[in-house]
């Protein structure tokens, strides 16, 4: 098997709450390969979003090491680590949130173009991505002119347009009704299979989680020192 797109070793994170340091993650180790999908589940506050933030460099771990697409980071936070994380997010890591993934002042097509521009891609084809996700007719509409499901599909178009090696999705269907959520999920898994990228998905939705290749339940991984 090829080397993993993402490798995590001994990852720990604590937060300060009411003057005390509360552990959220402790000694977490995992790996994800290209084309593989991993669902992260757990009750609210178990650290799902925190883990995704750590995996894309938006937060720093207290301990442990992370390797993404060959770039290694540890908890020491070297001076250039922010710049290297930013470079990775630009070109290799696509992030999708529950909502507010789009710039409201730009049309769907312009959002996709902006994301592709930041990823350093200059060729056209952004409209094709929207069409593949069923948004060809809505390409010139603004986010407040489309439905929640269409906005989430546009967010997926943005992510896939940058040809990422890893997609981190935090409750991507959390604000949608069942039917729309299924449509969006279908798009996500289809495109992920087609492009061969790795997918890590944080969700409360069991149906969505079971569509992934593997599942990590953070509620079952009790951090040391936790009450």
């Amino acid at each position: 098997m090829s080397s993993p797109v993402l490798a995590v070793d001994g990852l720990s994170k604590k937060f300060i709450s009411a003057g005390q340091r509360v552990p959220v993650l402790s000694g977490l180790t995992l790996g994800v390969h290209s084309g593989e999908s991993l669902a992260i589940v757990g009750r609210s506050g178990s650290g799902k979003s925190t883990l995704l933030n750590l995996l894309c460099g938006l937060q720093k771990p207290d301990e442990g090491a992370i390797t993404v697409v060959g770039e290694s980071f540890d908890s020491s936070g070297n001076s250039d680590s922010d710049a290297r994380w930013a470079e990775l997010r630009r070109r290799s890591i696509g992030v999708v949130f529950q909502d507010a993934n789009l710039m409201p002042a730009l049309s769907l097509l312009e959002n996709v173009r902006l994301r592709a521009h930041l990823a350093g891609l200059t060729a056209g084809g952004e409209r094709d991505w929207l069409e593949r996700l069923g948004l060809g007719a809505e390409a010139d509409r603004y986010p407040d002119q489309v439905s929640g499901g269409q906005a989430q599909r546009a967010a997926l178009a943005m992510v896939f347009a940058m040809a990422p090696a890893l997609i981190l999705a935090d409750e991507p269907t959390g604000s949608l009704d069942r039917h729309t959520a299924d449509e969006v999920a279908e798009c996500l898994f289809t495109m992920q299979r087609d492009t061969g990228c790795a997918l890590i998905l944080a969700t409360h939705d069991t149906a969505l989680a079971t569509r992934c290749d593997r599942l990590l339940d953070l509620s079952a991984v009790k951090p040391s020192g936790a009450g």
Binding site: F15, I16, S17, V24, S49, T50, N53, C56, L58, Q59, D82, A83, A86, E87, L88, R89, R90, R91, I93, V95, A100, N101, M103, P104, A105, L106, E110, R113, L114, R115, A116, H117, L118, A119, T122, G124
Partner: protein, 755 residues
């Protein structure tokens, strides 16, 4: 109680927003109060000076010596009804007070100045004993003896003179006050916009909470009542410190303001001209705050929607055009001010939408690839900001335009005044002829001196002029007007280089031949032109003449006639005489000594050119201190408001900057985007203010100034001021970006803690 706590919980979570709103109300009250106090002082002073000296006469000694206590005693013993009037000149803000003797006023009856005989109706009048005490405190003082009627029985050695503290200013002083009122209203408009903008933003952010309260069963009317109550309490609390600060501001600017009144209208700022705290101004401010913040409940939503619709924009264009036409065609100040108000209204209505469209167009024109997408996003955000920050943007535009126009006006005046002063002060020395001295003897001696440079004798007095044969000047046929007389002899090199506004060929030669020149004030007020015939009445002798030139005469309201001293009748009584002298090869001390020996006085008052010039410049700079200060304070207020608004508004956009970071844009690049966005915003507002500012400059120099003060100024532009304002805009933009950046950092750390 729980409802109230829930209601105000927003401000517990966002105390800075509450502080911003409170600060805006305090500053707005301060500015408004300061301007109101000064305007009231001016109005009261004008009223008092008119009332105090209305149709009165005073007694002078025939030998020209100053009046003293012995004269008062001699006149009272002779049975004349006279009363002492002791003026104590204290520097502003205390101002001048007048000491009067209540007992001596007994014979004046109802005509007693300062109130009924036997009582005092307050400042500026004080008992003469108090005035005597003040005169001992090194203040300048002067004693007059007022007479009760124009025909009292006076003993020999005394004569009557008209009692006047300055020239009749006609409607000019009213125009000056109208100018101040207009400036006050502009300040009120700008501050009102700023308060409304900060309040509206808070309401927009609290709308969700209000909806929640409504869902919990609280009627919307109750929410509005609580909002109004909250605003009343907040305004009530904030108006008090604003009032106090405004009074302090008025005190600080009082000196310059007093100088302005003195130099423009010869009106003295009297003591106690206004209340200690102007509660009326406070009431107006409370009403303004309530009106601008709660107007949305009164104006139907359809009207509000229509205002920003295409039809609304057309109405705005129509308002703008009507305003422009009114200013260009109006015959009076009120029409010009009304037109200016319409132009401001139309511009303010149109500007945010136009700037947003401009930003949108530029965004649409950005490259599809390359750096285009990021530029496009930034320009679209800019368009959003123009729409959401419409009110502070307009307020900043108005404030900048006002500052630009006032700066241009003051600098134009400064430059023009300096050139004019240089013409007027050609001589190196100025010698005042003592009262009772024979100036003709001195003139004869000067003409005999070998080696002396150019000199002339100046004679000042009063004349009456009447329209000549054409009858077109001065309104009704045969109507005469009073004007200051300014006579020179001989007419030579000291005046021949004057720049004249209009003249016949060889104007100075024509002046020597009996023609007259008139100042711009007289020409404008009575529509007199070069070549018009005039009849001039001097010491009971009437002569026909014609206008050979019109000259600029800045800084005073009175009409003036300039003629050759050789044309004056023998019995003409001069009010003031002096000599302007270039000593040439001689020493001025020697000339002064010779004049002293002719006039039989040991000390001759000689002033040198530099000291007069310095005095004039000092008066000038003091005159415009107030205007400059108010316009700059308004600009600071507007910039602070934009800064607060930009900062608060950013809370609604911070996520999108964070999204850029999530998409991999480095922190330094995000900071750069922030800077570009905020600096583009403030700089664009400055550029939008330029046309309005240039137009307002034209209105001030070419329309308002001639109507208000009687003289016009050239229309000059000062691009350096534009650059200065641009620098202020860039600075404001950078500070906004810095505040945004702090908020961005704080938000990220908040998110971490919340996760």
């Amino acid at each position: 109680m729980m409802l109230v706590r829930a209601f105000v919980s927003h401000y517990r979570r966002h105390p800075i927003q509450l502080a911003a709103l409170a600060m805006m109300i305090v500053l707005a009250t301060m500015l408004w109060t300061g301007v109101t106090v000064l305007t009231d002082q001016a109005r009261n002073s004008l009223f008092q000076s008119e009332e105090a000296v209305a149709a009165r006469v005073h007694v002078v000694r025939s030998d020209g010596e100053p009046i003293g206590v012995n004269d008062f005693v001699a006149l009272r013993l002779a049975g004349a009804c006279i009363a002492p009037w002791l003026e104590i000149q204290r520097p502003p803000p205390e101002g001048r007070v007048i000491g009067i003797d209540l007992l001596a006023m007994g014979c004046f009856g109802d005509a007693a100045p300062g109130g009924e005989a036997g009582t005092l109706d307050g400042a500026p009048f004080v008992d003469i004993s108090e005035a005597v005490r003040l005169s001992g405190e090194e203040y300048d003082s002067r004693l007059y003896l007022l007479a009760a009627s124009e025909n009292p029985a006076l003993p020999d050695g005394y004569a009557l003179r008209e009692f006047s503290l300055g020239p009749a200013t006609g409607e000019l002083a009213d125009s000056f006050l109208l100018n101040l009122d207009a400036l006050s209203l502009l300040v009120l408009l700008i501050t009102g916009l700023l308060v409304r903008s900060v309040h509206r933003l808070g309401i927009a952010q609290r709308q969700h909470s209000f909806d929640l309260l409504h869902r919990f069963g609280v009627p919307r009317r109750r929410v509005r009542q609580l909002l109004a109550l909250e605003l009343v309490v907040l305004t009530g609390v904030c108006v008090l410190p604003g009032l106090w600060l405004g009074a302090q501001l008025a005190g600080m600017l009082g000196g310059g303001f007093g100088q302005a009144l003195d130099s423009l209208f010869d009106v003295t700022l009297y003591a106690g001209s206004t209340e200690s705290l102007p509660w009326q101004a406070a009431g107006i401010m409370v009403l303004l705050v309530l009106a601008v913040c709660l107007v949305d409940w009164v104006v139907p939503q359809t009207w509000q929607d229509a205002a920003v619709s295409g039809r609304g924009q057309l109405v705005a264009v129509a308002v703008l055009l009507v305003g422009l036409a009114s200013v260009a065609l109006a015959q009076g100040l009120a029409g010009v001010f009304l037109g200016t108000a319409l132009v401001f209204a139309g511009t303010g209505w149109l500007t945010p939408g136009l700037l947003a469209i401009l930003a949108q167009r530029r965004a649409d024109g950005a490259e599809v690839y390359g750096t285009g997408p990021l530029i496009r996003w930034r320009l679209r955000e800019l368009a959003v900001m123009f729409r959401h920050l419409a009110l502070p943007v307009v307020a900043l535009q108005f404030a900048m335009a006002t500052v630009l126009a006032v700066q241009a006006l003051v600098t134009t005046f400064e430059n023009t005044f300096e050139d004019w002063l240089a013409q007027r002060l050609e001589a190196e020395f100025y010698v005042q002829v003592p009262p009772g001295a024979d100036a003709s003897l001195a003139a004869k001696r000067l003409s005999e001196l070998e080696g002396i440079g150019p000199w002339h004798r100046v004679i000042r007095g009063k004349a009456r002029i009447t329209a000549g044969d054409s009858g077109k000047a001065m309104g009704a046929e045969g109507e005469s007007v009073s004007a200051d007389l300014f006579a020179l002899t001989p007419i030579g090199d000291l005046v021949s280089d004057w720049t004249l506004l209009a003249s016949v060929d060889q104007p100075w030669q024509n002046l020597e031949r009996g023609g007259v020149m008139i100042n711009e004030q007289l020409a404008r007020r009575h529509r007199i032109e070069v070549g018009d015939p005039l009849r001039i009445l001097l010491a009971g002798t009437e002569a026909s003449t014609s206008v050979v030139a019109i000259y600029a005469d800045y800084g005073r309201p009175a009409g003036e006639v300039l003629m050759s001293g050789a044309e004056l009748p023998e019995n003409f009584s001069a009010r003031f005489e002096s000599f302007s002298v270039n000593p040439g090869e001689l020493a001025m001390a020697d000339i002064s000594e010779q004049l002293g020996s002719i006039w039989n006085t040991p000390e001759v008052t000689v002033r040198d050119n530099a000291s007069i010039r310095a005095l004039a410049s000092q008066v000038f700079s003091q005159t415009f201190l107030l205007t400059r200060a108010i316009s700059i304070l308004t600009l600071v207020l507007a910039a602070v408001a934009l800064l607060i608004m930009g900062w608060v508004f950013f809370t609604t956009r911070v996520w999108y900057f964070r999204l850029l970071g999530i998409w991999g844009l480095p922190a330094s690049a995000i900071r750069s985007q922030l800077r570009r966005l905020s600096v583009t915003l403030t700089l664009t507002v400055t550029i939008a203010a330029l046309p309005l500012g240039i137009w307002l400059t034209w209105v001030l120099v070419s329309r308002i100034n001639p109507l208000a003060f009687g003289w016009s100024l050239p229309m000059d532009l000062y691009p350096f001021f534009w650059l200065e304002l641009g620098a202020i805009a860039v600075l404001t933009g950078l500070v906004i970006a810095q505040l945004m950046r702090r908020q961005l950092v704080h938000r990220v750390s908040d998110k971490q803690v919340e996760a």
